[in-house]
Amino acid sequence: MSGFDLTGLSASFGGERVIGPLSMNVEEGDRVGLVGRSGAGKSTLISLIHQQVGRDSSLVPQDLGLVSALPVFHNVFMGQLDAHSTWYNTLTLIRPFRRDASSVRGLLKELSMPEKIWVPTASLSGGQRQRVAIARAVFRQSPLLLADEPVSALDGPMAHLIMKLLRDRFNTSVIALHDVELALQYCTRIIGIQDGQIALDEPSKRLNPADITPLY
């Protein structure tokens, strides 16, 4: 079960409502592209959904939430801390097991950064850090992905590579994107947010970029 049906989503900052109240129903298999002007409330909506569906979803927040002092390997491995005992995790912190290292390296290869596996995350570039956060989310192997601008720091070909990977690895997803082309290409359904409300909700097949422009 990776879809969700939420009602009464709303959030306020300093007494001013930034989103909602709105309802959102996502079926299993839906790949939702969340589009809208910056400040429209996309990030807030993503974190609201995350709070509601619980931590069974993989989240890629905009600020990534990496532990900068740890190497790439451990940041990715963190996605599966629940799968092992405390002793196993503690030993891994000191000296990772070969099995885990090779599975993480395999994943990093798909993100074309296998050579960075033992580099501390703090010394990576913005785009590389973003890919580490994506690797962690993928490594977690949960069926639902919630991602907030996951490819904002990546160049064109790399952004396509990542979007393809996310499409293959997650059954259901909600991804906030400012790049309308990417959203149309990789998502099955587009939800447009304007002034904290849903202003558009259509299958992407029926849309072209011009239909989305009014939102911006």
């Binding site: 990534l64 801390l81 629940d82 799968a83 995790n89 503690t90 949960s142």
Partner: protein, 488 residues
């Protein structure tokens, strides 16, 4: 200028200190102070490293007590920091760190005697309280997001080890290393109450007028602290920690009967011990308050306020010595040497030396506290000014100091100063053991007269006074919106 709250606060404290000077006893009573000072400096420049084998033993014991005490303190402090949110733990930690190492040593001496445990616990207990507070502050600073992103069902320990510790590991390590340096100083002064560390040998060298031997010990102590980055290596730490307990010396065996008697009889207020009951307790407490506590509190507060302002003045005068905005490399190196000596010498040893030379009064204590604490703050502020980039055509000389630098660093200067307020008061109380009439003097005399019940009351009063100043200092820092990390 007076419209600025920081300036107003500064002048209020300055006025209090000047008023305090009117009440303080700051006479030089020695017959020949300058001649003695000259002989002391002659001793320092003609150090005698081979006068006795005592010097090597003193240093070895000093290092051993520091390592065991700080290691124990950091482990206990770390465990306490995990439950620091609990108000009982918080209060307990505030209380144990408000009592100075020397007071703890004086307490343990009464029932453990000259056993190594006395020295180890005297360092470990107050350090646990300090470590608990600072570790918990450092842990609270870590980014909470990674923890929120973990899969549900992740164990508490795994989550802690992966998302909290790595993020603040460097800070934890830096702070612990800094505390180890403090531990060396604490360990050295424990010798003044008879434990086999540097202070013991220093005191005996001084009392016999062997200034060259004393000079050698001081120089070796500076070298020991200055070279810490070279010999304290992460890989060697386990060796030191495992090895240190074997170098504490044997001391004297613990007489467990004394331990039992201390708790069941010695520290019980005498009216209760003598069966006078509660009715006898009030006059007794009243007597302690009027004859010992109140004069002690008054002198402690007066001396603290004067020393605090003197510390500030020294720090403001000293920071240009190491700032890259003034002078050339030669002068800066000289400034560094001066500040390293000022901050590496425990204020207790400085006060002891000055007291020997100038005779008993508040003056040696004020100078010692101001030099030591001013050296620390001056060093931190000087380093901070070196990171400031001035415009190329900025004023030079005194105008650069007054217009460009002081206004920029004044807030952090005040933050450091108020942070050290409580530390200065704790030290002030303890300097009483040297014969200045602060609370430590009355504690020490009560112990000499075998009135441990009075001593305990006075120590608790001292602790409460420290906690009070700590709260006041934090209130002022918050009011003026001054922030620091606990690295000083």
């Amino acid at each position: 200028m007076f419209s600025s709250p920081t300036v107003r606060t500064s002048f209020i404290f300055l006025a209090i200190a000047i008023a305090g000077l009117a009440f303080a006893d700051i006479a030089i009573t020695a017959a020949n102070p300058w001649k003695d000072l000259g002989r002391f400096f002659l001793g320092v420049v003609t150090p005698d490293f081979f006068s006795s084998e005592g010097v090597a033993t003193a240093l070895l014991r000093t290092v051993a007590f520091a390592f065991v005490g700080v290691a124990l303190g950091s482990i206990c402090g770390f465990l306490l920091s995990l439950v620091y949110r609990n108000v009982v733990v918080r209060t307990f930690c505030a209380f144990i760190r408000a009592i100075h190492e020397l007071f703890w040593a004086l307490i343990f001496l009464q029932f453990f005697g000259f056993h190594p445990l006395t020295g180890v616990l005297a360092i470990a207990i107050p350090y646990s309280g300090i470590f608990a507070k600072v570790y918990s502050e450092i842990l609270d600073e870590t980014d909470p997001t990674p923890g929120r992103l973990l899969p549900p069902g992740t164990g508490v320990v795994s989550a802690f080890l992966y998302t909290r510790i790595p993020d603040c590991w460097v800070q934890l390590r830096t702070y612990t290393a800094y505390r180890l340096e403090c531990g060396l100083r604490s360990s050295a002064i424990l010798g003044f109450v008879g434990l086999p560390t540097l202070g013991f040998y220093l005191e005996s060298a001084f009392s016999q007028g062997h200034y060259s031997e004393a000079g050698a010990m001081l120089i070796l102590f500076y070298v020991l602290i200055a070279t810490m980055p070279l010999w304290v290596k992460p890989r060697l730490l386990p060796v030191y920690i495992v090895g240190a307990p074997f170098f504490l010396g044997d001391g004297l065996p613990i007489v467990w009967g004394n331990v039992a008697r201390f708790f069941s009889e010695d520290i019980v207020p005498s009216p209760i011990r003598n069966g006078e009951g509660i009715s006898g307790l009030l006059p007794w407490l009243n007597d302690v308050m009027v004859t010992e506590a109140l004069p002690g509190i008054w002198n402690t507060v007066v001396l603290t306020q004067i020393a605090l302002v003197a510390t500030g003045i020294i720090a403001l005068l000293a920071f240009p010595l190491i700032s890259t905005h003034f002078g050339g490399p030669v002068r800066r190196t000289g400034g560094h040497v001066f500040l390293v000596i000022a901050r590496s010498t425990p204020e207790y040893i400085l006060a002891y030396i000055l007291l020997q030379l100038w005779g008993p009064s508040m003056l040696p204590a004020i100078v010692a506290l101001a030099l030591h604490n001013g050296g620390i703050i001056g060093h931190l502020i000087g380093r901070q000014t070196s990171t400031i980039r001035l415009r190329p055509d900025a004023a030079t000389g005194i105008n650069r100091y007054t217009y460009e630098l002081v206004p920029r660093v004044y807030r952090s200067f005040l933050a450091f100063l108020f942070y050290r307020w409580e530390i200065i008061m704790r030290e002030t109380a303890i300097l009483g053991i040297l014969g200045i009439y602060t609370l430590g003097f009355y504690v020490d005399s009560a112990i000499q007269n075998i009135q441990f019940d009075r001593a305990m009351v006075l120590i608790i009063i001292t602790a409460l006074l420290n906690i009070g100043v700590d709260i006041l200092g934090r209130y002022i820092r918050r009011k003026l919106a001054l922030q620091t990390m606990p690295t000083c």
